[in-house]
Symmetry: C4
Subunit: 270 residues, 4 copies
């Protein structure tokens, strides 16, 4: 094993996303996560005004430093991609890695810094992509499997959830047009068109109720009462679906365990 | 098989509501669904003002075209109804189809266009019935069985849900009269009568809370706190009922599967 | 069997609260329920102003008629109480009936009409007790058993629900004092004292959010965010408890059915 | 057994936190709980203004009396700590007790009274710690085991709940920056920076909806609709997780009971 292969293996051990044993790898992870959090804070702080020039310069320096670190990290991940996909050749592994969701997010997160050098364009909006790098928080800890359980339950119940959502959507459109018809004369400035009705329907069915739009006529209030009560179903039905999905999951886990031995007589069962 | 029977069979294959194999049937479905969605958009856009005459003319042309297509579709469904109900004679099958929920919706959706020719009346309000045609979205996809599962759960738990709702309704009426008594002196313009109290009770129990009506006296706030906390039960109880319905469903499906073989000894069970 | 006993049996058959077979008993039930609903509407309508004298006179006549019918019904139930409790003597059965919850409600519902004749006092507030007679709606239909299932689930889970509520209550008191401390300087008129803080805590934890009171300082908003997120738990935990109660119920029903026969071999089990 | 040991045993029997048999211990518990509730009321009432000097003096006297009782109680618990931890020596038991959560709360609750005698400092804020003594309400009743069941369910599902919360948090940060970008031009005073966006995201995702901040542009409303609908998932997913935890708990309890006897053949199983 030559020095090149050794360096690559060491780099891969440092950066791969799993529960680390080495101190160096843990330090590396904590550093990257901290830099991501700091960069997210910078995106948030950039929306504030009134910072003195010195602070803005500090912000800029932190950003330059972060982008350099992220670029090196991206290059290292690309370089060691053949360790991640051992059954692929070097080039194929790199292409596959570059097309993975997290790699695209990583690339989009550093690109807004480099692109202005190539052609003059304001890509500040793309800096928000850095927020997505927060998803890496989920990759490097023991919550991944818990999250994948949650994801599996939602995926398994997707068709029930989607069809319920479709019914809700149809109900919303019908409710919004009806509410507009009922209230447009009493509140022409509030219920300007059916789009206002849709905004009302969403605020009511989700029980957010900002209070910027609500019926004032008796007919509108009666109709709103019906929709608000249906809104309870909007919460209850998906909750019931997801609950049953989690219960099913528990049952499945248990029956996998129980498969091998009869719980009553203790005999082995195939 | 003569040409008439062949044409009828071909038409039926094209329009029947199931998972299609032929390209033509899929194209037909997508066309009809698109026209329905466009017509719903037209009903929504009609509530906006300020469109130039050219756009309004376009809207009118789209509507005429849609109604013609929907009319042909309705006629075709009526014609091929004996294929849908093979055990009925031609006339009986057509009457049965014409009285089905979706057929009535389809008829009501095209009628507002034709009726003004017969006798002069403004049936614009009936155009909203077209929104109900959105329900067809649910018929032509694989979500039908998922939705029927949801529907079955709600149906099986109907008596529990209805009796809980009845208790909530009684609670609401009592709360609204009490709240009116407590607040009518402090806010005579807001709590004008017990109907205002009912509107407050609905906004509070469903946790919508628009903010147009709320107690300002100490007694009213204490009472409101009790009602708001009960409002959590209003969400928790139906959710619990529906959750248990979905869990029961899973158990039922599993026990159907398990019926044929003993899970422990593997022997066949009748 | 003499004529007195026969009349008593006939009266009892007419008024007892179960699923009726005779047409007369059903007519009697529908009449009483209708009168109760009409009286509840009268209590609600009395809070409106501006009715012409003729309508007010009609309201008064309906009330007089209802009270007479309710009085006769109450007397009849008292008279036939020994049929309801066959194991008790006449006087004991009547006392026991008179002390039952529904009998007290019935008496309180007619008393405000008679009392002013005895001594001059305004008992209009007591008329609200008539609203409680709405509970009879639950007695005369097939939803009783469904409701008792819901009641049993809540009763069985009472200690879990109460102890959770206690934690929520403690959290609310602490949150209200803290929020008052944080916001009292910025909004002295809104957060006047810890009671205002409690009102805010209830509106936030139950997610009602009327919008009459909310933090405006950064510290207050951060704290409010924590409380609002905890508010999700306030909904999720009782819902989870009640859900598990309903699931347990289903399991219990099934295991009762299964007790008698082995589900696998079909043999009878004691 | 000398008089000292007897006195200590009697004191321990009086103050230990379990279901009491003796009348004296119950009276002691009720007294302490009442004093705690009265002190919490005092902390709440202190935020009100306008009490006459006489009432304020009464408040002060109640506080002095309570602190003396609480101090004696604290000393007694410290003294009898070796009864609570019989396997430890006297000093070790006392240190262990003094470092327990409830003991620290008890000490912090009495300290703000004594400290000003030692060095002049305003520790009124520390008086709020007395609110935490309300937690003792949970220790001296039969709801403890119910509460520990609830706690165990949440603990067992902690990793799923935390990872879901992390996803929600990431979603919130992204939503807040996006909403700020969309609305900052239309409402520069309302959406001043991304922190305002975060405040909006929390009010929307938790469905509180105070109504102090909401989008007014069409793009903002559409985006808000998406977030509000996701807010339903924010409630549904933890509820589903907690529901399944409670169901799992029931199953575990049942299988513990069932372990000893086969439910079908009735034979004892080890």
């Amino acid at each position: 094993m030559d020095i090149y292969a050794k360096a690559k293996q060491a780099t891969y051990n440092l950066i791969r996303d799993d529960d680390k044993n080495s101190v160096a790898a843990t330090v590396f992870d904590v550093t990257i996560i901290s830099l991501i959090v700091v960069n997210v804070l910078l995106v948030v702080l950039d929306t504030f005004s009134g910072f003195p020039p010195g602070v803005l310069a500090l912000f800029r320096n932190i950003e330059v430093f972060s982008v350099i670190v992220f670029s090196v990290e991206y290059a290292a991940r690309l370089w060691t991609a053949d360790k991640l996909y051992p059954d692929k050749s070097g080039a194929a592994a790199r292409v596959r890695y570059a097309l993975s969701f997290m790699a695209i997010v990583d690339l989009l997160a550093i690109m807004p810094f480099y692109l202005p050098f190539v052609f003059p364009v304001d890509l500040r909006i793309l800096r928000m992509v850095r927020l997505l790098r927060l998803l890496r928080l989920l990759k490097v800890n023991r919550y991944t499997s818990a999250l994948s359980t949650v994801g599996n339950v939602i995926k398994r119940k997707a068709s029930q959830l989607i069809s319920s959502t479709l019914v809700v959507f149809i109900l919303m459109v019908i409710a919004s047009v009806l509410m507009y018809s009922v209230e447009c004369e009493a509140q022409p400035l509030v219920f300007q068109n059916a789009f206002s009705g849709l905004w009302w329907a969403i605020a009511t069915l989700t029980t957010v109720g900002y209070g910027d739009i609500y019926p004032i006529t008796a007919a509108g209030k009666l109709f709103s009462a019906v929709i608000a009560l249906l809104g309870i179903g909007i919460v209850a039905i998906p909750t019931g679906i997801i609950s049953s999905g989690f219960v099913e999951n528990i049952d499945a886990e248990r029956s996998t365990e129980e498969k091998h031995y009869c719980p009553y007589c203790g005999e082995k069962v195939d």
